[in-house]
């Protein structure tokens, strides 16, 4: 019981640990992932597995190079979660090398180049997605129609292997633009929004999720449920999701009110694209988001603002990845300037001052 070197308190602890947090996040993502796999069939599952496996292998390789204990860091679950989130944002039938390149970039450049876990400035999954989007725009904007596992037309296992590994998609399977991409192209052609929406069958399925998109985009309600579960478990706080979704919704509502022909309404803006996934799982990434409540609200609002701007006036139909990365760059500055008020102070470096009336009034509290 002798201590060799003095140990300071506290001498007790919660059983919380990093891998418990990661596991809880993965559990919250599970319903949406299962739905996504059901929706897009075997190829989605194969791509999902490849992406995560590449993440794990790159993590092992980087840990080995850095001389860090592999088992300890691998099993904290952060690499698996990065791969999982990346897979949720990829087109479900992408070629296998998209998943591999994305994962490797996310883990090696997005995480380990900065110093490993806890040191990265940018969200690794989003960094990888942005790189893939810019480098391989065709593959990254080819959104397959849903072909659920229990429907008549769905690729079987061997066909799925061919789709993913050989990029041989049979002509039975149709792909197209996502909702946002469709709106953008049609608006560019001068069509009115009302007609665009009625022409696209996906809009009626927006809530149920049977639409074209990545696994994280489609099942909005399930992602929302998972996000609320995370808030209830106190892994993330409500500030960033509320600020981000709120900003997107308010901006969309305002612009839609002014010019309903040009600007889509809040419902479409929030439920399509990866806004809900981004708000609950990506922008709230612990390492890259601010620490203080006010900082989180500013961060979330900034993300929402950038998402709306990029979608409406920017060059891409989908802006969540860019918005998150841009706000991640602002996080250190937000953290430096915006701090909670310390006990005994009114504002930063200004101590509280009470006048005599307040001090003597401290005894006039009502008895219950």
């Amino acid at each position: 019981m002798k201590n060799i070197s003095p140990i300071s308190g506290p001498h007790t602890h919660t059983s919380n640990s990093i891998n418990m947090i990661m596991l809880k996040v993965m559990f919250a993502l599970l319903p949406a992932t299962i739905f996504g796999i059901y929706l897009f069939g075997w190829p989605a599952l194969i791509l999902f597995t490849i992406t995560i496996l590449s993440a794990i292998l790159s993590e092992i390789f980087c840990l080995y190079l850095a001389g860090k204990p592999i088992k300890l860091f691998l099993f904290d679950g952060s690499a698996i979660l990065t791969g999982w989130l990346l897979a949720m944002t990829l087109p479900p039938w992408s070629p296998w090398w998209i998943g591999v390149v994305g994962s490797v970039f996310a883990i090696v450049v997005g995480k380990h180049v900065f110093g490993g876990i806890g040191q990265n400035i940018f969200n690794p999954a989003m960094l990888a997605r942005v790189v893939l989007l810019i480098s391989f725009p065709l593959e990254m904007t080819t959104w397959i129609n849903p072909y659920p596992l229990n429907s008549l037309i769905t690729p079987d296992f061997f066909e799925s292997l061919k789709i993913i590994f050989l990029s041989e998609t049979p002509v039975d399977f149709v792909s197209g633009a996502s909702i946002l991409g469709n709106i953008r192209t049609e608006l560019g052609l001068g069509h009115e929004l009302v007609n665009i929406i009625s022409a696209n069958s996906d809009h009626s399925n927006l809530v149920t999720g049977f639409i074209k998109g990545s696994m994280g985009e489609t099942s909005g309600l399930l992602i929302l449920a998972g996000g609320l579960l995370l808030i209830a478990q106190r892994i993330i706080s409500w500030h960033i999701p509320a600020a981000m979704i709120g900003t997107v919704a308010i901006l969309a509502f305002a612009f839609n009110l002014v010019n309903p022909e040009q600007y889509s309404g809040p419902w479409i803006q929030v439920f399509s694209g990866g806004v809900i996934l981004g708000a609950f799982f990506i922008a709230t990434d612990l390492v890259t988001s601010p620490n203080s409540p006010l900082g989180k609200i500013i961060f979330g609002s900034g993300c929402g603002l950038l998402v709306y701007i990029i979608r409406t006036w920017g060059g891409f139909p989908e802006g969540v990845a860019f918005a998150v990365i841009l706000m991640n760059a602002m996080t250190p500055m937000i953290d430096y300037y915006i701090r909670p008020i310390i006990y005994g102070y009114k504002t930063k470096n200004v101590p509280l001052v009470y006048d005599e009336n307040r001090i003597s009034a401290s005894i006039n509290t009502d008895k219950e």
Binding site: S5, P6, S8, Y64, L65, A66, G67, K68, P69, L72
Partner: protein
């Protein structure tokens, strides 16, 4: 069209250069504040271990780059690195040995009362008269060892200042709680 650009840019460059030259002459910062700044950072006990006859000449030498920032033994590593960052230079701290704080003590059995020691003590920390046993005020001793050098009977010894309950501080947490890195 090009000539307009060339002329205007040349004029601009000339004008900016003129402003810089004027500023360099009339807004020049005196270099003396550096010497007094360094002198404030030095211990100020005028012990002479650096080889200079006091802290002010040593500060002057350091400010003018004639001496290394590592010349002050009582200052140790922390002083050397502070001076290096003040002057904006690199310093190799590996040679600087941080001696633990020490104080001198007279061994009463061998003191002959020759008075040589208190004459050289820079802070008058030694008391005692001729032919009387001397003693050192522990709190006033800077550990400069000037007295040890002149004592004929070698009755002055340096002792390490022990940590007591009131001076003890917490050590830095051991980050090697992480298992050591595997040699790659």
């Amino acid at each position: 069209m090009f000539s307009v650009a060339i002329v205007s840019l040349t004029l601009l460059a000339f004008l900016l250069g003129l402003i810089l030259g004027v500023a360099a002459k009339y807004l020049k910062v005196e270099s003396d504040p550096l010497v007094s700044q360094i002198e404030d950072m030095l211990p100020g006990s005028q012990c002479g271990q650096c080889g200079f006859p006091g802290c002010k000449p040593a500060a002057k030498a350091i400010a003018h780059g004639e001496s290394e920032v590592t010349i002050c033994p009582p200052g140790g590593r922390s002083l050397a690195s502070q001076l290096a960052s003040l002057l904006g230079i690199e310093v190799d701290l590996s040679k600087v040995v941080d001696k633990p704080p020490m104080y001198a003590q007279v061994s009463e059995a061998t003191c002959i009362g020759c008075t040589r020691c208190f004459k050289v003590c820079p802070t008058d920390a030694i008391i005692g008269g001729p032919k009387q046993i001397h003693a050192v005020f522990k709190d006033a001793c800077t550990g400069c060892e000037a007295c040890v050098d002149v004592c004929p009977t070698e009755c002055l010894q340096m002792h390490i200042i022990e940590t007591t309950l009131s001076s003890w501080t917490w050590p830095k947490p051991n980050t090697k709680a992480l298992p050591p890195p595997i040699a790659a």
